[in-house]
């Protein structure tokens, strides 16, 4: 390729990178400015000094209502919610995908279609009936209730991911194992799971992001002490005394975003690799 085009290529890639980085840049530099610096400068100007005061306040001192404990309690709520929800929905998705690709039976395709359609349901529709159902089970407004909701509405995508991946595993492999006398579970644990690392990474990352970032279920199905971080962040950012503390808002936003950003930075290559390994094959 001629040198000129090579240069243009890199230029285009860099411009795109700037576009993607701009909001993050604004958030990061604003969060380490003091309010005076924010007033004096504009949104791109570099801070004159670094101050982590706003971070500290967002983490443990900012007030919403009569509560002044910052984002800290909500952060731990989110952790307690996201871990079981991701693990359960991933496990169920793997099992479903395994059955739907390797143990098809009459009606299994229809079942798959029915489960898949669930991806598309607008979540606002389920809020009220779900509230009633959670009430019947006695888990309304608790972290357990939130976990349940996320597991149920995560099933469709996890099943889809696993099924599409497992379709690309040759059936001959399963047949051979059967001839050796391996059963349903043995094949799953000994053959399928060891081959699943890429797709498990994809699903874990996907589910983690989805559940961590959810706001709608969080605001509706949680009460005072079970609110996840997105709700905490919303309360904090929409609460203001006479002065809007942009630096605290931005620090809070970054704290809420940190886990998912870290996951993408450190595990992002597994995500792309897993997609390459077959998740996108129709």
């Amino acid at each position: 390729m001629p040198k000129f085009w090579r240069g243009a290529l890199y230029a285009a890639l860099l411009v795109a990178a700037l576009y993607y980085l701009l909001p993050l840049y604004v958030m990061v530099i604003t969060s380490i400015k003091t309010m005076d610096q924010i007033r004096a400068g504009n949104l791109l100007s570099l801070p004159t000094g670094i101050s982590f005061e706003a971070w500290g306040k967002a983490w443990s001192g900012a007030c919403t209502g009569v509560d002044c404990s910052g984002l800290q309690p909500f952060f731990w709520n989110s952790i307690r919610m996201v871990i079981p929800a991701v693990l359960i929905s991933t496990t169920l998705g793997a099992l479903n995908g395994y059955v739907l690709s390797k143990w098809r039976f009459r009606g299994s395709e229809l079942t798959f279609a029915l489960i898949l359609f669930g991806v598309f349901i607008p979540f606002q529709v389920v809020l009220l009936p779900m509230a009633q159902t959670l009430g019947w089970f006695g888990i309304a407004n608790s972290i357990a209730g939130l976990v349940t909701v996320h597991v149920i509405y995560g099933l469709a995508s996890t099943t889809l991911f696993f099924r599409n991946y497992y379709v690309s595993i040759p059936d001959e492999l399963i047949k051979a194992a059967r001839l050796d006398g391996a059963g349903f579970w043995r094949i799953f644990l000994r053959i399928i799971i060891p081959m699943s690392t890429p797709i498990i990474m994809v699903v874990l990352i996907w589910q983690f992001t989805q559940i961590w970032n959810d706001f709608l279920f969080g605001v509706v199905f949680s009460a005072g002490d079970s609110k996840p971080i997105t709700v905490g962040l919303n309360n904090l950012a929409n609460t203001s005394t006479s002065v809007k503390e942009y630096n605290v808002d931005m620090s809070a936003a970054l704290i809420a975003a940190l886990p998912t950003i870290l996951v993408y930075v450190f595990a992002g290559k597994y995500f792309v690799r897993g997609l390459t390994a077959g998740a996108v094959k129709g």
Binding site: T64, V66, L128, M130, L134, F137, I143, N235, T239, S240
Partner: protein, 414 residues
């Protein structure tokens, strides 16, 4: 599945345990400076009575998210003890059969004697008290930064002509005349103030309480809409989506000269250490000196299964109406006590003025409910009218005449 079931069981147990503590869970959206302080006082007084306050604050969008959370809580059979509900919405919730009667508390504390009739009517559903009032806000205020007005040798305007003359002078002097927050409820707050000032009390009542079609389409309404829209050039471009208290802080910091807003704005001035009459002025909005748009905050109480919680609920209701709480709370919030003949000695000029006008307008029949704050109509109708008002404000191609016709259509929303 096994794990899920264990989680479910464990959760059910936690809930059962939690219910034993006598907690009063209160849903509110008082999250800004002065409001949060006021809520903090309530918490303190309740804890002094041996109850545990459980804060259920949901911020943002003038209570939009809070209403969603409340609805799902009620549907799941697990409502909070009390929620910030007011005006005709109390009747709507009453229709759903989920509110608890407060008649015992009301009788013991003699609410019938200490509350004005207009308040009592709002708090009762089918003859029973179901909500406790906390304050009376006056909505038709104009907040003024006197220093900026002095620069153009103007006094606080009392008529719309004066207002626009002052605004033009300010603009020429390079001062932003009006601080404005472009959110639907704020659009309507200013709109109803203009309607009261331009159209008068009878017009206001016919238009927004009787929802009279002819009045809504009338020439007066067109004039009201035109006057309302005339304010827009005096606001800044960044008003869209701005919170009310940020607009107030523009007046506090001298970035803008005036703001139309209810007296909760005073809480922000006070929280910033400003003195009424000196650093800022509160005057009735142009043309509304002899009228009073009221907005009464109240807490509706929900039916609860748990007996301990009911005790806490009654304590809460009793505290809310008690003279001590009314005083402390309203000093922080900017409003006035809802009790008749409350001691106003600790209140500032604005508060005293408000209390005096409330009593006077109560007598002369010029007390009108604020529709922008859910005191005059059902939420569906109110929402439809919000839509028209905000659309008219934002869309510079819409004529006042067509907006008036749309208002009439919106008023038919059931």
């Amino acid at each position: 599945m096994q794990t899920l079931r264990i989680t479910l069981c464990a959760a059910a147990m936690t809930v059962a345990f939690a219910a034993n503590a006598a907690e009063v869970e209160v849903l509110h959206w008082w999250t800004s400076g002065g409001e949060a302080k006021a809520a903090g006082e309530l918490k303190k007084m309740l804890e002094a009575k041996g109850d545990k306050w459980k804060d259920f604050a949901v911020a943002g969008g003038a209570g939009e998210n809070a209403m969603t959370a409340l609805k799902t809580r009620v549907v799941s059979g697990n409502p909070p003890a009390a929620a910030q509900i007011k005006g005709p919405a109390i009747q709507e919730w009453g229709d759903e059969g989920v509110l608890a009667s407060l008649d015992d508390v009301a009788k013991a504390d003699g609410w019938d004697k200490v509350l004005p009739k207009v308040v009592i009517d709002t708090m009762k559903y089918k003859g029973h008290y179901v909500a406790a009032p906390v304050n009376v806000h006056r909505v038709n205020w104009l907040w003024v930064n006197p220093e900026l007005l002095k620069k153009v040798n103007a006094k606080a305007p009392t008529t719309w002509d004066e207002f626009f003359k002052t605004a033009e002078a300010l603009q020429k002097a390079g001062i932003q005349p009006v601080a404005y927050g472009g959110q639907p409820w704020q659009d309507s707050t200013v709109f109803e103030t203009v309607a009261l000032g331009v159209g008068g009390v009878d017009f206001y009542k016919k238009a927004f309480i009787s929802l009279d079609q002819n009045t809504l389409k009338s020439a007066t309404m067109v004039k009201v809409l035109e006057t309302y829209k005339k304010i827009k050039p005096f606001t800044d471009k960044n008003a869209a989506g701005r919170e009310w208290n940020l607009a107030t802080s523009m007046v506090i910091n001298g970035k803008a000269a005036m703001q139309f807003m209810g007296d909760w704005a005073k809480g922000e001035f006070l929280a910033a250490g400003k003195v009424p009459g000196k650093d800022f002025l509160c005057v009735a909005a142009p043309g509304t000196a002899n009228a009073y748009t009221f907005n009464i905050d109240s807490f509706a109480m929900f039916k609860l299964a748990n007996k301990d919680a009911v005790k806490g609920q009654n304590d809460l209701a009793s505290t809310l109406v008690s003279p001590q709480f009314q005083e402390i709370f309203n000093l922080n919030k900017g409003s006035i006590p809802v009790r008749l003949g409350a001691d106003m000695s600790k209140f500032d000029e604005c508060g005293k003025q408000s209390a005096k006008d409330f009593a006077a307008d109560n007598k002369s029949g010029t007390l009108v409910p604020s529709f922008a704050h859910g005191m005059a109509m059902h939420s569906a109708t109110q929402g439809a009218i919000y839509d028209v008002v905000s659309q008219f404000w934002n869309d510079d191609n819409m004529t006042a005449k067509s907006a008036a016709d749309k208002l009439a259509t919106a008023a038919k929303t059931k």
